[in-house]
């Protein structure tokens, strides 16, 4: 399995030692039209569960927490001009940032797709 989910509605896709992070389709639907995404800078050190990005919608400004610790490797700068990508393509083209993992064991605490779907059903 290479994709994991959090209870805060982030997804992380693992390739090698790097994880790509976004918010789930469920999360974007709850937020409504997304108007702005504040992205982290490359090289920034982050710890699991800390807020590293902010997604502004017409309803709210919501923090996005990194599911893993490590170093920010990249951010999706396409969102600066097209934040609506998070609405239209939340789980692929609407990714937010990439993290080089410092502790891959942190992934063990995350959910797989089936577990996340069950979790969302229970909300």
């Amino acid at each position: 399995m290479s994709r994991y989910y959090t209870k805060d509605h982030e997804w992380i896709e693992i390739a090698g030692d790097t994880g790509t992070v976004g918010i789930t389709d469920y999360a974007q639907a709850q937020l409504g039209d997304i108007t702005f995404v504040e992205l982290p800078s490359s090289g920034q050190q982050v710890t699991r569960g800390s807020s590293v990005s902010v997604v502004d919608s017409v309803k709210a400004a919501s923090d996005v927490y990194t599911p893993v610790s490590g170093t920010v490797a990249d951010a999706n700068h396409a969102l600066t001009d097209a934040p609506e990508l998070v609405n239209t393509d939340a789980e692929v083209g609407g990714w937010l940032f990439r993290v080089t993992l410092s502790d891959p064991a942190e992934l063990d605490g995350l959910m797989d797709r089936a577990a996340y779907d069950l979790y969302v059903e229970g909300l």
């Binding site: 309803k59 709210a60 400004a61």
Partner: protein, 456 residues
């Protein structure tokens, strides 16, 4: 809001409903030792309205107030003429509110005024955007420091010696709770501010440099040089303007490289009011818009394509974003902003420049007359409407002696900096369009008489 008094019958009916026998019984849970027994010590017993008015009028008559004496005080609060139309218009029922309304979009007129206010402030400051106002200049100054920390993710602030000491006191109070590091210095009595020393203090940890323009001593710092040095270290320049009328003559801080410009708007449309309520002004570069504190009005089109106004980007604000908000201010100084906007609209750009020229001309007359007094010199190389005189002795004593002669002769540096004796011969004097030749002559003769030791 109406005042609805209670009758004894109302009161006893309400008490009967909740099963209490007296109002005092409602306070039974307050421990006896925490309750007040009898009248408050030192306060006189109640009196009739007429007696209170008579008493207050007698107290007020003891004041030597700005409107009745030759008046040269400034230092962050400026006496300017306010056209009668400003007071008339702000008191219209459609406008008369202290804040943005709770249901803002229903008050389109109020939002339109705030939108125009923002436009005026942004043009005055040379910034891309401005917010719908803050409490006053000093709190706007602190908010700018907080904002610079959010933008740069750094925690150190370098503050020029020319920042008003009361603004610095506000910043110190707030920084105690946030842990921001403040690198401060006292002003030095030199003809020009020591920009080189300030520039040398900027390092790679610095979030922003805070520079007042003109500074507390009336001098004009070289903002462009400071901005360049700050940007080279990745820091922001915060410019603070306590006398916005000056910007009718000197270059807007935003055009000189300031990233955030804050100020006190009292000078335009708001009276001295014993120090408040005043009007915080706040503008910045567009790229920092989402880190800007406070309310922001936007212009849009409604469903039928008609022009309309909204409060925009509210998701940054406390009522939505809670503790992650850009600021705990969730309001603005609505009525003072309205007065500012009306006064600015009456003046127009050209009128503001003429007003500024007039202020400067009055200050030139003031300084050239006062420096004819033996022993009195002017510190400043340049000034707008306020300059620092150096007296032969402690300026505090001179100010008291002048007040006894019915002259409000300026703000002594000893009052602003009681712990810095090297500044105590300094006297800040201000002239505005309200200052007459007779006022200047009265101050000059009064000062000469004080130094000559003549009795009042």
């Amino acid at each position: 809001m109406r005042y609805l008094p209670l009758t004894d019958t109302d009161r006893s009916e309400m008490l009967a409903v909740i099963g209490a026998s007296s109002v005092d019984e409602l306070f039974a849970d307050v421990p006896a030792e925490a309750r007040l027994a009898g009248p408050i010590a030192g306060l006189p017993p109640h009196a009739s309205e007429m007696a209170v008015e008579r008493h207050m009028a007698a107290l007020a008559a003891k004041n030597l107030s700005a409107g009745v004496a030759p008046f040269f005080l400034g230092a962050g609060a400026y006496r300017h003429h306010i056209p009668a139309s400003v007071d008339h218009l702000i008191q219209r029922g459609e406008f008369l509110t202290a804040y943005t309304p709770y249901q803002p979009e229903i008050a389109q007129g109020t939002l339109q005024v705030l939108f125009e206010f923002q436009t005026q402030v942004a043009r005055l400051f040379g910034t891309d955007v401005a917010n719908a106002s803050m409490y006053d200049g000093s709190t706007a100054c602190w908010e700018a420091i907080l904002m610079a920390g959010r933008v740069t993710k750094r925690g150190k602030t370098v503050i020029a010696g020319g920042l008003h000491p009361h603004y610095l006191a506000t910043v110190r109070t707030m920084a105690r709770f946030t842990g921001d590091v403040l690198d401060t210095r006292l002003p030095v009595l030199s003809p020009e501010p020591d920009d080189a020393e300030l520039i040398a203090a900027i390092d790679g940890e610095t979030a922003c440099v805070v520079v007042q323009y003109p500074d507390i001593l009336g001098r004009i710092p070289d903002l462009a040089a400071i901005a360049k040095a700050a940007h080279a270290k990745g820091a922001l320049l915060v410019a603070v303007v306590t006398e916005p009328v000056a910007l009718g003559l000197i270059e807007a801080p935003g055009n000189l490289g300031a990233d955030i410009v804050v100020g006190e708007g009292q000078s335009l449309g708001v009276g001295l009011n014993f120090g408040g309520p005043y009007l915080g002004l706040f503008g910045c570069r567009e790229k920092f818009l989402r880190q800007m504190p406070g309310r922001l009005c936007g212009q849009t089109l409604d469903a039928d394509g008609r022009r309309g106004f909204v409060l925009t980007l509210s998701t940054r604000e406390q009522h939505i974003r809670r503790e992650k908000a850009t600021s705990n201010i969730c309001t603005n100084s609505g009525l003072c902003a309205l007065a500012f906007t009306i006064h600015m609209t009456l003046l127009g750009g050209e009128g503001l420049t003429r007003l500024a020229r007039l202020n400067h001309a009055r200050a030139q007359s003031m300084v050239s007359r006062l420096t004819q007094i033996p022993g009195v010199t002017c510190l400043n190389e340049a000034w707008f409407n306020e300059a620092t005189l150096i007296l032969p002795g402690d300026a505090r004593e001179a100010v008291h002696a002048l007040a006894e002669r019915g002259i409000l002769g300026g703000v002594s540096l000893g009052r602003l900096y009681p712990d810095a004796p090297e500044l105590h011969r300094g006297l800040l004097v201000t002239a505005t369009e309200t200052t007459t030749d007779e006022d200047i002559e009265a101050l000059a003769e009064g000062l000469a008489a004080v130094f000559a030791g003549e009795p009042a």
